[in-house]
C-alpha cells in the first residue's frame, strides 16, 4: 500500500456545508462499495495532515468521488469543502477496509442508515446495487438536520422514485422538516427506526455510518429492537 498522486478533476457543491470532489488517481485499482481512502495533504513547509474519507463511487476506473462535509474549525475538511480547486494535487492511499462493504452477490435485504456525511459510503452501495441490477431489497434511512442538508438528495430521490420496491428512502429530520412533514422532528430513536427500517423478520444486513454518537445510539436501538448484532456493521466518523 502506498500513497498515490490524485488530481482534483471536479468539485461540486452538495449542500451548504458539503462538497462532492472527483479525484483522478492514476493506477487506482477500483474499489468496492463502502470502502474508504486516506487522504494526505502536505503544506509547503512539509507539515502533513492525514484524514480518512469514504468513497461515494464504486467499481473499476481511475476516477473516484468523495463527499466531504465541513467540520467547523477543522483542519482538513474546510480546505476540501471551500478551497480545493480543479487541478489541485493531493495524495491518497487505498482502497481501504474490507469490512464495511456491500458485496453485490449478497442476496440479503439491506438496510442502510446514515447520519450526515455517513451517507457517503451508503450511496456507493446504492449505486453499486443499481449498477449490478441486483434484485435484493435496499432500504435507506438518512438522518439530516434539514431537507437542505441531505447529501446526494436528488440522486437518492430519483432512486426512490424508480418503479418497483428495490430501493426505498426514508429521511428523519433532526431540526426542521419540509412543510407539512407528518413525522416527529428530532434524533433517530427507537420509534423512528421501527417506522422506517426493515423489520427483524427480514433479517437484513444493516450498515450504520456517521458521527460516532449517532452510530452508537442507532446500533444500540437496533439490538434492542431485536436485530442480530452480527448483522449490524458500523463505521464511526468521529465527532460528538
Amino acid at each position: 500500500m502506498s500513497w498515490r498522486l490524485a488530481t482534483v478533476g471536479a468539485a461540486m457543491r452538495l449542500t451548504d456545508s458539503a462538497r462532492s470532489i472527483r479525484l483522478d488517481v492514476p493506477g487506482w485499482p477500483g474499489n468496492l462499495a463502502g470502502q474508504h481512502l486516506d487522504l494526505r495533504l502536505t503544506a509547503e513547509d512539509g507539515y502533513q495532515a492525514v484524514r480518512s474519507y469514504s468513497i461515494a463511487s464504486a467499481g473499476p476506473g481511475e476516477s473516484i468521488e468523495l463527499g466531504v462535509d465541513r467540520v467547523p474549525d477543522g483542519e482538513v475538511s474546510p480546505y476540501l469543502v471551500d478551497d480545493v480547486m480543479t487541478g489541485d494535487q493531493l495524495e491518497v492511499r487505498g482502497p481501504l477496509g474490507g469490512w464495511f462493504v456491500w458485496h453485490e452477490d449478497d442476496p440479503s435485504p439491506v438496510q442502510l442508515i446514515g447520519g450526515g456525511s455517513g451517507v457517503v459510503p451508503l450511496i456507493a452501495m446504492a449505486r453499486a446495487h443499481r449498477a449490478a441490477g441486483a434484485t435484493s431489497r435496499f432500504r435507506m434511512l438518512v438522518s439530516a438536520r434539514t431537507p437542505e442538508d441531505v447529501l446526494f438528495a436528488p440522486e437518492l430521490s430519483a432512486l426512490d422514485a424508480t418503479p418497483g420496491d428495490r430501493f426505498a428512502l426514508d429521511v428523519v429530520y433532526t431540526r426542521r422538516g419540509p412543510e407539512d412533514w407528518p413525522f416527529p422532528i428530532g434524533r433517530v430513536d427507537r420509534a423512528a427506526l421501527e417506522r422506517t427500517t426493515l423489520p427483524v423478520s427480514d433479517s437484513p444486513a444493516i450498515f450504520v455510518c456517521g458521527p460516532t454518537g449517532f452510530v452508537e445510539t442507532v446500533a444500540d436501538h437496533l439490538v434492542a429492537i431485536g436485530h442480530d448484532p452480527d448483522r449490524i456493521k458500523t463505521e464511526r466518523f468521529g465527532g460528538a
Partner: protein, 199 residues
C-alpha cells in the same frame, strides 16, 4: 517526496530556528491520546514514591501543596511533531520530592491514574530538570492536560511527562512503560530524534 497541496496551510504554526529536528511550532496545546480521561478528585489524589526496600513516601493534595513550589517556563516537544515554546507551569521539583528517598536503583517507572506508565532514568528527573506540576498558564491543570497533576520532563519528548501521575517506583532495569512497550523509544530525547525503537 510528498506532493504539496496548493493552499493547504494546516493548523496555525510558525517557522522557528531552534526547534529539535522534525518538529513544528504550535500555539495549541498538544495532547497525547492515552484513552479515557480519568477523573481524580483532589481529595482522593495522592502522590507516592516507592523504593526497592519498600520505603514509600506519600503526599496528599494538601501535604503536596505544603512543599516549595517553583515556576517553570519551558519549551515542550511532542513526538507527534508539535513543539510549543515558553509554556509556563507551577509545581514541585523532583529534587524536592526525592530529598528523603534512599535508593541505589537508577531507573524509575512513572504510574498514572488510568493505568498508564512511562519509564525514565533517575538522572533525567534530578538536577532541576523535572517537576510534578499542578498548574498551567496560571490555572489549575485541567484533566484533559493531565490534571490534577502531571509529570513535567521537558527535555524529553512529552509523552514522558506522564499525565494524571500518581507515583514513581524505583526499578533496577529500564523496563519499558506503556508507549515504550508499544513502539516509542525508551529514552526519547527530541534533539537526537529518539522517537521509535531502533533509532
Amino acid at each position: 517526496m510528498a506532493v504539496i497541496s496548493r493552499g493547504f496551510g494546516g493548523r496555525a504554526r510558525r517557522e522557528a530556528p531552534d526547534l529539535p529536528p522534525g518538529q513544528y511550532l504550535t500555539e495549541d496545546f498538544p495532547v497525547l491520546s492515552a484513552g479515557p480521561t480519568p477523573d481524580v478528585p483532589t481529595e482522593e489524589w495522592q502522590f507516592a514514591i516507592r523504593t526497592e526496600s519498600g520505603q514509600t513516601l506519600r503526599w496528599s493534595w494538601d501535604e503536596f501543596h505544603a512543599l516549595p513550589f517553583e515556576d517553570v517556563s519551558t519549551d515542550i516537544h511532542c513526538v507527534t511533531r508539535w513543539s510549543k515554546l515558553g509554556t509556563s507551569w507551577r509545581g514541585v521539583a523532583l529534587d524536592t520530592l526525592f530529598a528523603d528517598v534512599e535508593t541505589s536503583e537508577e531507573w524509575v517507572m512513572a504510574h498514572s491514574y488510568g493505568g498508564y506508565t512511562t519509564n525514565l532514568a533517575l538522572d533525567d528527573l534530578l538536577d532541576g530538570r523535572a517537576w510534578v506540576v499542578t498548574e498551567f498558564d496560571g490555572e489549575p491543570l485541567d484533566p484533559e492536560h493531565g490534571g490534577p497533576a502531571r509529570l513535567l520532563v521537558p527535555h524529553l519528548y512529552f509523552w514522558k511527562s506522564a499525565k494524571w501521575v500518581r507515583g514513581l517506583t524505583m526499578q533496577a532495569e529500564d523496563d519499558p512503560g506503556f508507549w515504550e512497550q508499544n513502539g516509542y523509544h525508551t529514552h526519547g530525547d527530541p534533539w537526537r530524534e529518539e522517537r521509535y525503537w531502533g533509532q
